[in-house]
Amino acid sequence: MAKQYRSIGEEVWKNKVEKVNAELFIFTYGSLVVQLIKDYEDYHSVNKQLDKLGYNIGVRLIDDILSRTNLEKCKDMRETAEVISKIGFRMFLNIAPSVSAWSADSKEFSLILDDNPLNDFCELPPRAVQGGLWYSNVLCGVVRGALEMVGLLVKVEFVRDVVRGDEVSEIRVRLEKVLDEEVPVGDD
């Protein structure tokens, strides 16, 4: 199954999306984060704002994925995790984080980002590390927003990041609730 998603993701990346210079994207993101720090002056608020911007992106980006693939509804979180990594991350950032560290109830997993483009040139100043900044926090919002649109309410957060001096960058995703997708009749 993972293999099938991998090839769908690669096919979409190769043939179905226009590309833009990665460095333009990376510098633009960096400039946005710096702007948020100027505007908020507090790293926790910046994390929150990045998550919010990411959420707004996620609720739109999901339709980008679905309109370019013929994905069936995922049966469980394990399948969902594979789609996020092999199709979602692949078709936007051309990376595929590895999925690992499943909880016993299969509702919680980690995305390990070996090669996060947003981090490419980034070195956090010590005060940002101490202040608790998660530089790529936008990604958490994206995953949360995208999954919400297909009825999965999740909690997503960074737990480690190489720009903070950690060994790896790790995003933890936990399924909190599944929404019934059909709006009841007469609800409007």
Binding site: F27, Y29, G30, V34, F121, C122, P125, A128
Partner: protein, 134 residues
């Protein structure tokens, strides 16, 4: 006598971003070095419109000192005070320091014209000085 060098990176607003001495340290000279390097900035300003290369060679002399300069495309000046005149090695030193500056600049958190305080940067520059100058 082993050679002495004074190296400074000067921002576009003429403030020093980074300073270092290599070789035998002569502490009494520190302020004089800064003064000589600073005085040479005017000459760099004149010389830089005459060519479009980054390495401007020796732009000034003061007693036994030569002042060499290198200007990055975004007008950050690398200044070196030295006694001997090994142009090739000075050019090599400048070019590699330019690359270190470039990589510092690429970090979204680096504000142009801010002092470069990272230990890692200093260590790398010292290593380049050993490679090219000492």
């Amino acid at each position: 006598m082993s050679p002495t060098f004074y190296f400074a990176i000067v921002g576009t607003n003429d403030s020093p971003l980074y300073e270092a001495e290599f070789g035998v340290r002569r502490d009494e000279n520190k302020h004089l070095n800064q003064f000589i390097a600073h005085a040479a900035l005017d000459l760099v300003d004149d010389a830089q419109f005459m060519s479009n290369s980054c390495y401007l060679k020796t732009v000034d002399r003061y007693n036994e000192w030569n002042v060499s300069a290198y200007v990055t495309p975004s007008n950050v000046r690398l200044m070196l005070l030295h006694e001997n005149k090994a142009e090739d090695s000075i050019k090599g030193f400048f070019t590699d320091c330019h690359e270190l500056y470039l990589k510092t600049l690429l970090n979204p958190f680096y504000e142009p014209n801010a002092p470069i305080q990272a230990q890692a940067f200093d260590t790398k520059v010292q290593a380049l000085a050993r490679k090219y100058l000492l």
